[in-house]
């Protein structure tokens, strides 16, 4: 099937490095995610205090969206940009923290600030708030990156005019392993929104 839609920008975050459209944007040799995220926050001049309340998955998704959208848009974002994200671990990183707070009836201290992040789609909410995106959202869980279903879903949203653009991808955080790959699909761009091209970009680094 001939794809009428195109990828106009993409972003990777992995191993302490952020790159946009294949070009390195920020790098830090810190091994742990939390200090890396903090440094990236300042390097990208994000200025969003609630960032520090987010869980790891939230921070990862937020920074990736910020790096990509900042490059793509210099003015305020006015377009209807849908968010279609996916991962393997859902919110397990935070789930384990919540579980630890309730594991022992003698030390039972569940916290709403942690519990709210025990859903993978919360990061979509954080990005929506930041960029005022009142748009379509979906969060899928796959065993591994699934270009086909992301393509089908984003094509559908664009064809049915439920979105002008779709920010899609994979944002996964599990123990200390993290990986983000986001790309923006719309009517214009240099790269076809096809399974082959999406996978090529995913594997580019």
């Amino acid at each position: 099937m001939e794809s009428k839609y195109y990828i106009s920008a993409y972003c990777h975050i992995k191993n302490g490095a952020i790159s946009v459209n294949g070009i390195p944007d920020f790098k830090d040799d810190t091994e742990a995610f939390a200090p890396f995220a903090k440094k990236a926050y300042y390097a990208l001049k994000i200025e969003h205090p609630k960032f520090f309340k987010m869980d790891n998955l939230g921070k990862l998704a937020f920074i990736a969206a910020e790096a990509l959208l900042k490059t793509e848009y210099t003015q305020e974002i006015e377009e209807n940009i849908a968010l279609v994200f996916s991962n393997r671990s859902a919110s397990l990183d935070t789930d384990r923290k919540h579980q630890a707070s309730i594991g022992n009836m003698e030390a039972f201290y569940p916290s709403p600030a942690v519990f709210v992040y025990t859903l993978p789609n919360i990061c979509l909410g954080e990005i929506s708030i930041r960029h005022s995106l009142r748009s379509e959202n979906s969060f899928f869980i796959f065993d591994r990156f699934n270009a086909e279903h992301l393509m089908l879903y984003s094509n559908s949203l664009l064809q049915e005019k439920k979105a002008e653009k779709v920010l899609c991808g994979w944002v996964d955080f599990d123990a200390e392993d993290y990986e983000a790959f986001l790309y923006l699909v719309g009517m214009e761009g240099n790269i076809e929104n096809s399974i082959q091209e999406i996978n090529r970009l995913y594997n580019i680094l």
């Binding site: 707070s101 859903l119 789609n121 919360i122 708030i129 995106l133 969060f139 869980i141």
Partner: protein
Amino acid sequence: MHRIFLSYNNIISNLGFDSKTVVDNIANGISGLESIENPALLPEAFCASMISSEKLNESFEPLGNPMDFTKLEQMMILSLQHTIKASKTKLDDKVGLIISTTKGNINVLENDTAFPKSRAYLSMLGKTIQNFFGFKNEAIVISNACVSGILAISAAKKFIIQGKYDKVFIVSGDLVSKFVLSGFHSFQALSSSPCRPYDKSRNGINLGEVASSVLVTVSDINFPTEAVEILGDATCNDANHISGPSRTGEGLYRSVIGAIKDADVQVGDIDYISAHGTATSFNDEMEAIAFDRLALTHVPINSLKGYFGHTLGASGLLETIIGMHQVDRNVVFASKGFNELGVSRKIYIVDQNLGKELKIFLKTASGFGGCNTAAIFKKVNG
């Protein structure tokens, strides 16, 4: 132009292990909510609808060894088994499988379970269901808070229209677990008595565990009487707060407008609204504001949370299925737990079973993360 339908369906709940039994119980005003004292789940007594593990194991035994499957897997497999069998569908490569859940097998994170912690990965839940039935396509899991159930219907429709599948089975489910109970307890969002959606004295949610399944299909032959056509749907984020709903109901408002546009209907065509109605102060008020803005105050509304509790990732699908059966029977069931209107807009909450000719209904849901989803369905028969 593709016409997409919801067809055979099943519900596994403590109100019954098949849709008809469950719906008959609701018609008779019977709720599955009960007061439960189980310190292993929550230090204080709580109100919830839970499925007896004994009854579940007994029903599951003809299908497989209950020791090999978690409680949620047994619930989902039992439900899906029924739906696949009733529809007489051969699971070829044009048949898809979507699973909607918020937390899946989250209880395996505890230390004393018979299953490895890796079972908590939702893709493992997907594989288990997929392999049990021999689906040729990989299970697609949707985990998007409390809108997951309706979002799964929307996703199924999209994948069918895009030509990937001709039919999609959706199975949804969530457990009443220590994990979720403690979480909502930390929000002080739980009510220890049966919940009272939209009522003046509402004071929080109850949880419920349920599995439900439905066949989404393009084919319009071989339908049960309660089959409906999916006319349209839309999802919209509030872009306001991650755990509280928008004060103006903006996301819900826009998603209903979007669904109406997608369905190519008018506001006046809607005969009944199956709303979210969780019985928290904020949610129910937000919905009232949104429905008022939409000029839907004259349309009968119920929340089904008074029969099942809040079934999280299953709620959207479960309540849509009950909607199908109400429309088939031309009756809007009483919004259990409702007595006196406790929201700032005069919405029409049905307080006893209402006989009415029903053709088109609206289902809405909202969830953590600011998500809102709306879908519009039309009766096939008559």
